[in-house]
Amino acid sequence: MDATTVIIGAGHAGLAMSRRLAERSIDHVVLERGEVANSWRTERWDSLRLLTPNWQSRLPGYGYEGEEPDGFRDMAATVAFIERYAEVVAAPVETHTTVTSVRGGDDGYEVATSRGTWRARSVVLASGACNIPCVPAVAGLVPSGIATLTPMEYRNPDQLGEGGVMVVGASATGTQIADEVHRSGRPVTLSVGEHVRVPRVYRGRDIKWWMDRVGVLDERYDEVDNLDRVRSLPSLQLAGSDDLRTVDLNSLTDIGVKLIGRLAGIGHGKAQFSGSLPNVCALADLKMSRLLDRIDEWVVDTGLEGAVEPPHRFEPTRVESSPPLGLDLTSGEIRTIIWATGFRPDHSWLDVPVFDRRGRIRHDGGVVEAPGMYLMGIPFLRRRKSSLIDGAADDARDLSAHLAAWLDGNGRRPHAAEV
């Protein structure tokens, strides 16, 4: 089978690219291992809602059409939204087609799948940023009596045994799971490393509204000081809910969750925690204040002061003066450990030498080193919003322009940042 372009993955990113290629009449196919929006269907816990409000899903040719633009989609609504998008843009999706390898180079690619092989001049990798849960090496030292699971296996608290739970990681995933597990009657100890704290609502508006308006989400990859650092920032400590509540370390402390430092090691059945908890909390508080300062300056500059609530600051993260540095995992206090320690993409099927020494794809704003190959939907690919549904429109526009120019120019590559 032949196509000019093969897009791998029918999530929002792959579908947005499909729409952009259709606009340019570039023939293509979208290969999907399961159904459209597969990860949202099969790899998320029950209570998860999107972290971005409904309105913030402006895909090329489609957007939110419902009555609650400020609400937050649950997983069923997210799947329905992406499914509807695939229909609206009439994306040529081949479902249940698992890519097993991508080979080739200068004269095109061979994409082998569970349903035959496609030949294509260009390939778009849109298979997601969160395919594999990152589990720290110390996981292998957890005593055998303790159940361990990743957020991909976690569905709801009922699935866990009774007794204490240690959640490792305090970004969006870890704080949300800590909140609901603790409320289920299983006392939670939350191991906290570096994290990004933001309030759900500030000055009467959702934080994502502010980040959108102020231009934070539009910051470009070629304008930031340390791209490596911003690409590896943990997710914002946020939760989507009907009551717009903030889930942060203080709200967790209020319900009785115990905060401890970053898990630093496990030896002889004892977990050891870093003494850096006060500093990681101070760093997150300071960083949050800088974001709020920026919002306040923008409000003054745009003359909106009368139209929004007055500025204020949030209580610093409360940390006990000497948080425990050790925990005996054999004492029975902890019965379950959940590794909310991040995710990474799975490109194990990509047999093209485009990886750096840490196994990440080398690319310039989504333009992969291999000619005709493009990457979508990973953190700060081209902009701060690149990992959001709302970021796919601009990235797909830029990258489809580059892709089209490359096809037209018979291999002469435009500069990645110019498009």
Partner: protein, 185 residues
């Protein structure tokens, strides 16, 4: 980008940024090994020398050999020929954080005028005396207090100090466990 900056904390930021760039191309050169040799003098008095180390792919040397006498004070029935080893640890932490503050401030175009750290480590010596197995030998906590005079807001200064902790080797050594192998030839 900082070449025209009037801010001068005596830190060569261009060299540091250049090193980061160069090392990202050749990460094996980033592997350093720090060394010291220590000789017992008498009683609790010992003398430690540092001179050579390994880094950037080859043997390196300090401009001269540095010597540290360590001993214990007279309340420990010692002769007090030098700082106690735990005080040297405090010195290591304070000087590491302070060096970090100068570097981060330079990077952020903040002119420092004075930086003073007071550092305290609490210890219950029942641990080292073997009187109570539940008491640890080491510090039960460390407090560092900074007085900083700089061309920056209090918030910016706090951010510099927080960033310095995030990047500090000694802070990491003290706050996280490290495997230690001690052999006898």
């Amino acid at each position: 980008m900082h070449t025209t900056s009037p801010v001068d904390n005596g830190v060569n930021v261009e060299a540091l940024l250049g090193a980061r760039e160069a090392l990202s191309e050749a990460p094996e050169a980033a592997r350093f090994q720090w060394r010291a040799t220590c000789e017992w003098i008498n009683g609790t008095h010992s003398r430690t020398d540092v001179e050579g180390f390994f880094g950037l792919g080859e043997e390196q040397k300090h401009r001269s050999r540095f010597t540290f006498d360590a001993d214990h004070p007279e309340v420990f029935a010692s002769e007090d020929h030098g700082a106690t080893p735990v005080e040297i640890v405090l010195a290591g932490l304070a000087s590491c954080l302070t060096a970090g503050i100068a570097s981060v401030a330079q990077m952020r175009d903040i002119q420092l005028r004075s930086v003073t750290a007071t550092i305290e480590g609490g210890m219950d010596i029942q641990g080292i005396l073997g009187m109570d197995g539940d008491v640890r030998n080491g510090f039960d906590g460390i407090k560092v207090k900074y007085e900083i005079d700089a061309d920056a807001t209090p918030e910016e200064i706090r951010a510099v100090v927080a960033q310095s902790q995030k990047r500090s080797a000694v802070y990491d050594i003290i706050t996280n466990p490290t495997n230690v192998a001690v052999e006898v030839n």
